[in-house]
Amino acid sequence: MTGAVKSTLHDSESALVAVRDLKKHFPMRRRFASEGADHIKAVDGVSFDIPAGRTLGLVGESGSGKTTVGRSILRLIEPTAGEILFDDVNVLALRGRALRGVRRQMQMVFQDPVASLNPRMTAAEIVGEGLQVHRVARGRDLRERVAGLMRRVGLSADDMDGYPHVFSGGQRQRIGIARAIALDPRFIVCDEPVSALDVSVRLQILNLLDDLRRERGLACLLITHDLTVVRRFCDDVAVMYFGRIVETGSAENIFANPRHPYTKALLSAVPVPDPDSRTRRFVLPGEVPDPLNPPSGCPFHPRCPFAVDRCRTDIPDLISWSGAAPRHRTACHYADQDLPLPVTVSAP
């Protein structure tokens, strides 16, 4: 067992998936030496644990590195540094057969239901591919298993010989989910599983994922930018900003008591489905920094309404603060002060 590391900061004994100081830097070609950084730090030191059977919601704006984290865990992207422990085995050190063995227990549901299904394969071939490759089943047995999976995700077994283009977006995503659970994995990465779908079918797909997760005791990394989804389906939350986790904790604590100004801003932007509601909303000024010219100190300071001199020089660690709930950690120098956001817009 290579690289089984116990961390004092995290309770890795109970974690099925543990990510340790994950970094992914993309090299940049520079024309002039003066043109800023030569790497884009898409993910810069991310750590988290997912215990068996629990769901972690990874939230953040586009470009914050959420997808890179998800794909790195499955080694679809090779990280620059860090460790990914699955059952205390460092996935990044594995090759060949051992890697395939671990991969079998980790699956992924993709964002785009069109691009994630091979247009030249039937639904049955797509769903059954893993079973075939790992020689779990073949022939009639394979077809029966695939039919069972199709029914489990709410599709008719009569549809199993159809090609992807005859299915609707929601049906395609169901095929993608059937493929992901075919090998009976213990961990699933769901990368924005519903953001490409019609609003009317999103909840059905999320409920299906949630049912499967409960039924099979799956651990799940749910990558999303939709906080309402996180609130409803996740046990824990990690908020990412500019390649780092800025706040993490149980969903309950994060929603009730957010301490990072970025988390607060995100939460204040959640729409409330009540026409009479007059929430006071804070609109975050500026944009995500240019990764070629990262800001000094806290990466959030250019947009932070509370930024002081210290924020421009010191990078805050992701740490617990006085009075924090267990596992609630925030990367802000002033996390313990619970500063109220100023109101920039009175939302209608």
């Binding site: 794909r71 499955l74 679809l76 395939r100 991969r103 079998r104 980790m106 699956q107 992924m108 993709f110 964002q111 785009d112 691009a115 994630s116 299904l117 091979n118 247009p119 030249r120 394969m121 797509i126 591919e129 893993g130 490759v133 790992h134 995700v153 709410g154 599709l155 008719s156 549809d159 010989d161 159809g162 090609y163 283009h165 005859v166 299915f167 609707s168 929601g170 049906q171 169901r174 993608g176 493929r179 075919a182 090998l183 019609d198 009317s200 079918v201 059905q204």
Partner: protein, 361 residues
């Protein structure tokens, strides 16, 4: 999205899609069908291939069926069957017709119990009637030694079909293998193969073949191999680009997560999706190959006299243009139609497999 199933309520198990089992190939065919010119080209190519396969039944000095010496014989049919591999057991059938010097025409005669090809002359059969004008006996006239030109034209089709299919077959296999490897593996493999493509693309194919034919025996098989060895670059570039585009698609990532190895990913996921734009390129390449062969035979480096090919028919027509100007019609129209047909089919295929053009009629 042309294939929206337009279901208002999505219940997963709903039964909206009609053409459930419709394959990509069938969808391409539906697009192709809308091209009248493409269909026209395809029908010419099919006719041409039919003519090439059944050449002895259309023009030849052997009867298709006859009653001779108290027995039924099918010498022309046997000739066709003998071209099919592994069917050599029919070789020995119709024995008397196999002997050199056996003249079926005089032996069988104009007996009513014989079915003859439309043109009763073989491609190599000489008559005393040299450089004849087109007549009821010789529809396209005869050449300088009295061979029937229609018979030679029909048998010349075999070479044209063979050159197109075999040379582009070699080119397609080479191009897909090299282009696929370059696109999938990237890095050094890609750099190496890409440079090789650039080098081979610089060869002037026609003159390369000419200079090779000086050293080796001028033979149609050699011509086909050389065309194949030089015409794969376009296919390789297409395959490389498609593999590069496809390998970053999510369905490939999903296959990797499912445990699929490189071979399975290439054969099952990349190649089937990369093939469609190749068909157009292959069709254009066939047109090129037919032209190249005709040009070489015209110069005397391709099919060797007296074996017929459209190129050397054109040559002999050219040489006798003063005496028998009608000779030129047959081979030139045949070459024109064939090249046109391949190009029309190529055009239609390109449109039918291009998702951006699919919407326009």
């Amino acid at each position: 999205m042309p294939n929206n199933t337009s279901s208002a309520v999505e219940t997963g198990a709903n039964r909206t899609p009609r053409r459930r089992r419709e394959t990509q190939t069938y969808r391409t065919w539906r697009q192709f069908r809308r091209h009248r010119t493409g269909l026209f080209g395809l029908s010419i190519i099919f006719t041409l291939m039919l003519i090439a396969v059944s050449a002895p039944l259309i023009a030849g000095n052997q009867p298709i069926a006859c009653h001779f010496d108290g027995q039924w014989h099918f010498p022309a049919l046997v000739d066709v069957a003998n071209k099919i591999p592994f069917l050599s057991f029919v070789l020995n059938k119709s024995k008397p017709f196999r002997f050199a010097g056996f003249d079926a025409k005089t032996a069988v005669g104009d007996d009513e119990s014989a079915i003859w090809p439309v043109v009763r002359y073989g491609p190599l059969e000489t008559t005393s009637d040299g450089l004849a004008r087109p007549s009821r006996e010789h529809w396209l006239g005869t050449d300088e030694v009295g061979r029937d030109l229609l018979a030679r034209l029909v048998h010349g089709a075999v070479v044209s079909v063979k050159v197109g299919v075999v040379s582009m077959g070699i080119a397609a296999v080479l191009g897909v293998l090299l282009g696929g490897a370059a696109g999938y593996f990237g890095g050094w493999t890609d750099a190496l193969i890409s440079r090789l493509i650039e080098v081979v693309m610089c060869f002037p194919v026609f003159f390369l073949i000419l200079s090779i034919m000086v050293w080796i025996e001028p033979d149609i098989n050699n011509v086909m191999v050389v065309i194949g060895l030089t015409r794969w670059t376009g296919i390789a570039r297409y395959t490389r680009a498609e593999f590069l585009r496809l390998k970053s698609q999510d369905f490939v990532a999903a296959a990797v997560v499912s445990g699929a190895g490189p071979l399975r990913i290439m054969l099952r996921h990349l190649l089937p999706n990369a093939m469609s734009p190749l068909w157009g390129t292959i069709a254009f390449g066939m047109a090129q190959a037919v032209l190249t062969e005709a040009g070489l035979s015209w110069l005397g480096f391709g099919v060797q006299w007296p074996e017929p090919s459209w190129g050397n028919l054109l040559r002999s027509a050219f040489e006798h243009r003063g005496v028998a100007p009608a000779m030129i019609a047959g081979p030139s129209v045949a070459i024109l139609l064939t090249v046109l047909a391949y190009n029309l089919v190529g055009d239609a295929l390109r449109d039918a497999t291009d998702p951006k053009r699919a919407a326009t009629p």
